[in-house]
């Protein structure tokens, strides 16, 4: 049976930049809270995961769920098929997500699935920006 990847880290950030010649990634603006004067609003976000213990072909899905009073999937993205050759290899998932709609203040959970198996999550909060 295909191994379930182990998550070493999941980060939500402003964006992930991939340098074209070297293919190295820079995770820009890691955050836990997003502040806005009002809702609804939308925001482009980056999602970065570092994984290991995988071998074979995987499709990764990121599901963003509002986990307030009424849970709702607000956005998501599925990767193309990713081949992983060596189980000891550490590899990265670097996604720049389309604008994520924030319809309410509260907690938003970024759930990561590998071939439809839930393997990890990161949580951010959308908070009201207090203007002084």
């Amino acid at each position: 049976m295909q191994p379930v990847p182990s998550v070493l880290a999941i980060l939500v950030c402003d964006s992930v930049i991939i340098d074209s010649p070297t293919k190295k990634q820079s995770v820009i603006g890691i955050f836990d809270n997003i502040h806005s004067a009002q809702v609804p609003f939308s925001q482009r976000l980056g999602f970065y995961a570092r994984l290991t213990d995988a071998e074979g072909e995987y499709k990764f899905t990121v599901r963003i769920v509002y986990v307030g009073d009424e849970e709702q999937i607000v956005a998501g993205l599925e990767s193309d098929t990713v081949p992983v050759r060596d189980r000891l290899e550490v590899f990265n998932l670097a996604l720049n997500l389309p604008p994520v709609p924030f319809r309410k203040f509260g907690r938003y959970e970024f759930q990561l699935f590998a071939n439809n198996v839930f393997i990890g999550r990161a949580v951010i909060s959308a908070l009201k920006l207090e203007v002084k």
Binding site: V4, T22, K24, Q111
Partner: protein, 142 residues
Amino acid sequence: MQPMTISEATPLGMPLPPVTPLTRLRSPAVRVDADVPPREPPELLKRNTTAEKVLFAPNIDGRLKIMEPFVVRVEWREGLVTARIEDIDEFGYGCNSGEALYDLGKTLAELYLFLRENADRLSPDLHSIWLKLSEHIQLRQP
């Protein structure tokens, strides 16, 4: 006190190499741009997160690895969300599905470690749960 000499050296006192070293990734990044043409949303994005079956295999404890995913039924009940593994009748709960799944993970880890420690003196019921858990969870190699 001796004056500090500032020279072209690293903090360890090693001279700088004539050519700056290059750092590289072992494996290329998996990249998905936001600007790819829209596709049919995957089935996972069409579900109701408080009424679904989830294949569950996150990191539940640094010492353990879920080798075979559990099938977890997530349900909204009387103001709480429960995440239940029907095979072994274990569950976690919380205000939302994320909390319920997190709670379930902690419950599974505690149960596995407790049963492992007491494996030689378990009742038949607990022994059967231990066998089922062992089909899914293994200790990580130190």
